[in-house]
Amino acid sequence: MSETAFKVKDYKSDLKPIWCAGCGDYGAINPFYQALVENQLDPKDTVIVSGIGCSGRFPYFCDTYGFHGVHGRAVPTAAGMKIANPELNIFAVGGDGDGLGIGGGHLPHVARKNVDITYILLDNSIYGLTKGQSSPTSPLTMTSKTAPYAYVEEPLNPLAMLLAYGASFIARGFSGKPKDLKALFSQAIQHKGFSVVLIFSPCVTFNKQITFKTMNEIVKPSPEDWDRSNRLAAMEKSLDTDSYWTGVVYQDERPTIHQRVAEITERVGRYNNFKELIDKFA
């Protein structure tokens, strides 16, 4: 690497993370810095977009461009950024409430557009920032401030959903395994198309049911020879809710929206000047 190579410190901002001590999100941001180093993304060309939540504070702690939008809209904001300016490296980051609850409606569409961004979902099965309400991935057995007696909804299965949406890269990790995360981030960055890194990232303050400990018991790395291109096999894995399979679960290569748009632009050609268009109305 050349002398001018970016190092971890070049990606760390001056703001000290305000997450609680032990929060899973620390386990995600550190390997993220490392993956940026590994891929030598220039901070000047990089934007991290986030939603609202504890997880939404992520970009404040990175010394790249950042955008902290409104609750649930990180993904379409990032998509617009990328489609309009494909030269940039774009990340979207948010929590389970942000990404699967209020913002859940955007995922299918960014997936089918195959926008070349990387979406990092920090799932803690709880609303952290608002202090402990049920989230779309909270298990039925979990009580919370909004489910004081019992929860009345089954948890969503984000892995199965993203497979159904046709996301072209889906990886799953755990912030208790930061080394693995670095590799997943790196591959996601290198993937051309919509890549998602689903991370279980425990909330030590409000989620007393799914913790580093309980997760460690069910985490199972995918087999070495796992066939990433087999969507049905990936779906089968997603249905196994007793284990938490990690690794790159699915990947396919197909044109991104930017490539498709570029192909059209190429094909239809350009006006020489504005007058040429105006003439059509004469």
């Binding site: 404040y60 461009y65 379409p76 617009g80 004469a282």
Partner: protein
């Protein structure tokens, strides 16, 4: 005084070809060298309900719809029933006796049989070309050569192949001959100027052309009546200027994507209507707070809620100004006619980029779906306003994206271009963009954001509003948006018919208020009239709040634009 205009309304069931008949007619008449004003109104359903096309043509200016008809061309009984009363006393009905039976409500006005179905059957195989028969029959009235109509027919059916074109031209020809033989009393002769180099566009088309002229780069969109044609137009044309028009899954994603693109340095526009703008409320606020420039064209329709999607209303003004929580600056504009749609979109971009805020341009269904011949817009040497960029030698360390400047405008770096990473954010933030909720900071940053409106307010002092201020006028009218033409014509009628001078001011920037200019206008007046196409008098309420005046408010909340006659009567009542 005999009107120099010819006003023809064609009415029939939605899907029957009323609109295509009118479009072809309009094109031919405009090319024939007359000024036209062509208005459409649809049912909100795909099929059924009354569709209406009204064509007004004249050698003089045609600034508004006219209320009373010279000719009603009724394709069915419902059209007759609904409009027979607005045929002028010296006007006429043209109708297909198979489909419509005139009755005593015609009150001795003339009527002409126009057997559309029969003629169509005669010259083609079926009745599908009936609307082309009507094209031919009507074009004769305007003193336009059949050839111009035939060209327009050919263009309309071009994609469907020569056979279809030929069949429809045959029908038009037959209609022309029928008219030539039987409609003599209706034929007008005009002073025509077919040599003029003009274009014929709707308000929606003019706005979309304006966006392209302004150098729009990214257009996220979601279809909604009556704004859809702007997006569809840009889907077709923007790629040929190297930009992207992309459909999103809803208006929230649309605006979020727009903000993303704006942050990434692009010129962004989206077009929507009431329900869509409502959905954008939260995200719009983010654009104000994060200071991302963008332009929203809001084509107002009848409200509230789903309301009257295909009808017109001027009822989103207060929503555009106040339509989101807390207090955040936006600029609200309204073009006043079709030509103005073109120019005001360009200006909206300049304001958005200069002041780093969302600009909402309020047009309405009447403007959007009216077509007029307008001068060919000449861009000349066009210099779009650029965002304030950080000086070249700006230090990365401690860079203040949200610097508390005198104008309120702070330097905005662009990712990829400037090595000045910062956080754009919807949280209250310090000058660097870091979260900051202290009382002093909030006070300072709120003031900074609103100072941009003040700076803009000072800036617009020098800009012209549309105005007439005849010497000695004691009565004045302030209007906004598409009522311009009707107000202007009403004032001309008062002058010509009653010898009364009335002043007229029509600001294009509605918020911030063009305070100094309005105050000067109000100075000599004894009475102020504020006509609006809404129920509560939204702009009047502002003026009252600001200037402590009590204008006479004229409201129309009927899904239809004011006519000049209506306003003439309303003003006259106050003399």
């Amino acid at each position: 005084m005999a009107s120099p205009d010819l006003v023809v309304r064609i009415g029939g069931e939605g899907g029957e070809g009323v609109i295509s008949c009118g479009e072809i007619l309009a094109k031919a008449v405009a090319r024939g060298g007359l000024n036209i004003h062509a208005f459409r109104t649809f049912p909100a359903e795909i099929r059924g309900g009354l569709a209406v096309f009204q064509l007004r043509a004249s050698h003089g200016p045609t600034r508004s719809l006219k209320q009373d008809l010279d000719v009603l061309c009724a394709f069915n009984q419902e059209a007759y029933d609904t409009y027979v009363d607005i045929i002028k006393d010296d006007g006429a009905l043209c109708y297909d006796p198979e489909l419509c039976t005139p009755d005593e409500r015609l009150k001795g006005k003339s009527s002409f049989e126009m057997p559309l179905d029969a003629i169509s059957r005669e010259v083609t195989e079926g009745t599908r070309a009936k609307n082309m028969v009507a094209v031919g029959a009507m074009i004769r009235l305007f003193d336009i050569p059949l050839e111009l109509a035939q060209n327009a027919v050919a263009e309309w059916f071009d994609a469907k192949g020569d056979k279809v074109v030929a069949m429809n031209q045959k029908a038009a020809e037959a209609g022309w001959h029928h008219s030539d033989e039987h409609f003599k009393p209706l034929h007008r002769s005009f002073e025509r100027h077919p040599e003029r180099d003009q274009i014929l566009v709707t308000g929606n088309e003019a706005a979309a052309l304006g966006a392209l002229a302004a150098g729009v780069q990214f257009v996220p969109g979601y279809p909604i009546t009556p704004a859809t044609p702007i997006f569809e137009f840009l889907c077709k044309e923007l790629p040929k200027f190297g930009g992207q028009a992309i459909q999103f899954e809803d208006e929230i994603a649309t605006l979020a994507a727009g903000i993303g693109a704006s942050f990434a340095g692009k010129r962004v526009l989206t077009a929507t209507s009431g329900p869509g703008l409502s959905l954008m409320s939260e995200t719009l606020n983010l654009a104000s707070m994060a200071e991302c420039p963008l332009v929203i064209v809001n084509v107002m329709r009848g409200g509230p809620s789903t309301g009257l999607p295909t009808k017109t209303e001027q009822s989103d003004l207060k929503f555009a100004i106040y339509g989101t929580s807390g207090e955040s600056p936006r600029c609200i504009m309204a073009p006043f006619d079709i030509y103005d749609c073109f120019w005001q979109v360009i200006r909206a971009f300049d304001i958005a980029e200069k002041y780093q805020m969302p600009v909402i341009l309020l047009t309405d269904q009447a403007l959007a779906y009216t077509s007029m011949n307008i001068p060919r817009p000449e861009l000349g040497v066009f210099e779009p306003v650029k965002r304030l960029a950080p000086p070249l030698d700006t230090e990365r360390e401690g860079f203040q994206r949200y610097a508390n400047t005198e104008s309120g405008v702070s330097p905005m770096p662009i990712p990829g271009q400037h090595d000045l990473p910062y956080m754009g954010t919807g949280l209250e933030h310090s000058e660097t963009g870091a979260p900051n909720y202290t009382p002093d900071n909030h006070e300072m940053m709120t003031a900074k954001r609103f100072r941009k409106l003040k700076t803009l307010g000072k800036h617009i002092v020098q800009e012209p509003s549309e105005e007439v201020e005849p010497e000695g006028a004691e009565i004045g009218v302030i209007g906004w948006g598409s009522t311009y033409g009707a107000i202007r014509e009403a004032i001309e009628m008062l002058d010509e018919q009653d010898g009364v001078k009335v002043a007229h001011l029509h600001p294009r920037i509605l918020s911030p208020l063009h305070e100094w200019r309005i105050r000067r206008f109000l100075g000599p007046l004894r009475k102020l009239i504020v006509p609006e196409e809404n129920y509560t008098g939204q702009y009047a309420h502002f003026l009252k709040g600001k200037f402590g005046i009590k204008p006479i408010e004229v409201h129309k909340c009927r899904g239809m634009p004011f006519s000049a006659e209506e306003l003439y009567r309303a003003i006259k009542e106050e003399l």
